[in-house]
Amino acid sequence: MSVTKQIGWLIIGLLALFGAACLHVLSGETAVSLGVMKDAIFQYDPSVMDHVLFREFRLSRTLTAILAGSSLALSGMLMQTLFNNPLAGPYILGINSGASLFVGLLLMSGISIGGAQLGIVGAALVGAFVSCIFMIGLSGYLRNQISLLLAGMMFGSFTSAIVSILQQLSGAEALKAFTMWSMGTLQQVSFEELYIFAGTVSVGILLAFSMGKYLNVLVLGEKPARLLGVNIVRTRIIILIAVAILAGVTTAFCGPIAFVGMAVPNLTRLVFKTQQHHLLIGMNLIIGALFVLICDALILNWAPVLPIPLNAFTSLIGAPFVLLILMRRVR
């Protein structure tokens, strides 16, 4: 794909993203006028309820959706290239489960580390990182794509079993706190926390971009990549850190969100039919954000009639997509 075409696609993607963000910010059960929106952004007054509602609930939710969708899609793409497996993704390969386990350990043990939210972010990052290392170790033994997928699911089941035991042993309030977190939502990130969220995601994105040319070679397989001079161990570690940061921080702030990290990278590859990772990174960031924004806007609009949790909605769309890919692979 030529550079002009790539730039064209990026511009179209960004325009679509802007449109979806506008649609999302207007979705909700309370009416917000354009004047209130403008004032809430440029002349924010915390004593005015409409300003608070717009800034803390609408705008922060929209920005959270963009950050969550982008980071999950990018982490999924990195994993798919790293494992050379289109079925890889932070949810399928148990990265979310690992993050959940560590958050569960933190919340249900009653240990308080730093601020409440900071402790959860730290725990989720450690959990995501440990899971990544485990899956990388396993991928050395399991070359078959389906086997690795099954191993990821087993790992997810294993961590779920530990979480179930923790739930049995924990007090009612700790259990409730964990249940509330594990339901997954975009609405609990405050405007101040968005800076931490965006900052951490930016680190992950920069790491991914820095690995762009190595990722292009890695799709050929480890051996050819090594022959072309790629330091495999170093590349794997950096990708691993990027995945842990992106998936871990999103899981920490939003709870587990299923299938975005698996479905969006496949969709992007399907549309652009390219292995140029700089373009894929950019488009995954845009399409991931678009996907979550649209899902969440639909949820918000249907809420008065049919309240659906985000995690359930993304699973409803993502699970058939996994099935489709599996069927294509098996055939």
Partner: protein
């Protein structure tokens, strides 16, 4: 000829007898329940008939005969809800309990001691224990909440003489309707007179507190956010009725429905702009509340109002709330008037 005549006579008498055994639905004039929507009880000379209606369809779900060949009063019981234990405790009939769903959620000291002494079975955190374990527990009657329909293996259990009874006290819209299920336990344990006496006392106390309650200015919100939605009682629910009877002005009092509402958090924040009291957020400290729901800080009642919950002793609340609605009403009355707060029965301020 003689043979045929006596054969027909025998068949006629047999069919006449079985007709007599068939129970017809209880008529309104025979029903002794006055508040419950889903429980009907009628006393006949030799037996008591209990009809249970299905809250989903409003139709008769189950007819139970107590005495005269039906359930023997005082039969052993397995209970699958904390509220059943509270009712049995009120009737001093805990010795009839041979099995509970999960001892972890039992507040009653007597029952806990019985469990420790190995006299009762706890099925653990499993929704549907297998029939074998139930038979082994020695229970003759199973009382369950029927959230998910009939009790698992209900037909099999009936065949071996174990009766499963659906208890819809949780679906009642009036607090006294919920408490009226005490009568069911009275008939089952053979203590119908005590049950009637106790219910009369509950009713008198509830109505007296209701009479003493004056409509105040306090705006009330209830519930908390779970995932994307805030769960709060609907305007025609049991909880909304309690708030109204205690003189509170519930934010969602005008909504329809007897269950709960799922609302967007931003809507609740806006609707609760003038609410000064927040009930039942599910946490006993503000620290744990804000940890689970960071945006609670935007709810006025969190920053400048008062929050009350029962979670410091949740098992006690869940066990006793159905049978002591007058005490909950009294707690609410005190909270809404901000008087005598140091002597609340179930509630405590969340600080």
């Amino acid at each position: 000829m003689k043979f045929w005549f006596f054969s027909f006579l025998w068949l006629f008498l047999l069919s006449a007898c079985s007709e007599e055994q068939k129970l017809t639905p209880i008529d309104n004039k025979d029903n002794i329940c006055r508040y419950s929507k889903w429980l009907r009880i009628a006393e006949f000379p030799t037996y008591t008939q209990i009809d249970i209606l299905n809250p989903s369809t409003n139709e008769l779900l189950q007819t139970i005969k107590i005495g005269d060949g039906g359930i023997i009063p005082g039969a052993t019981l397995a209970t699958f809800s904390s509220t059943h234990i509270g009712m049995l405790a009120e009737l001093n009939s805990l010795e009839k309990v041979v099995a509970v769903q999960d001892i972890q959620y039992v507040y009653n000291e007597i029952l806990r001691n019985s469990f420790n002494a190995g006299r009762i079975t706890s099925f653990g955190n499993e929704g549907s224990p297998d029939a074998e374990r139930i038979v082994k527990s020695g229970a003759k009657v199973i009382i369950h909440s029927a959230y998910a329909g009939p009790f698992p293996n209900e037909k099999k259990l009936n065949e071996i003489g174990i009766t499963c009874i659906s208890n819809f006290d949780w679906s009642e819209t009036h607090p006294l309707g919920k408490a009226e299920w005490l009568l069911l336990f009275g008939y089952l344990t053979g203590k119908k007179d005590l049950a009637k006496e106790k219910f009369k006392a509950i009713e008198t106390a509830y109505l007296a507190t209701f009479k003493n309650s004056t409509k105040g200015n306090e705006r009330i919100i209830s519930g908390n956010v779970y995932g994307d939605f805030w769960d709060t009682p609907a305007g025609e629910s049991y909880h909304a009725q309690l708030i109204a009877d205690a003189g509170g002005s519930y934010v969602y009092a005008q909504t329809k429905g007897i269950g709960s509402l799922s609302l967007a958090l931003e809507k609740v924040v806006k609707d609760a702009e003038n609410a000064t009291i927040w009930l039942n957020p599910g946490f006993s400290t503000k620290e744990s509340l804000i940890r689970a729901n960071p945006k609670a800080k935007f709810i006025k009642a969190f920053t400048t109002g008062k929050i009350y919950c029962y979670t410091h002793d949740a098992n006690k609340f869940w066990e006793m709330n159905a049978v002591q609605p007058h005490l909950i009403l009294e707690d609410y009355r005190r909270i809404f008037t901000q008087q005598d707060l140091e002597n609340l029965y179930f509630y405590r301020e969340v600080l």
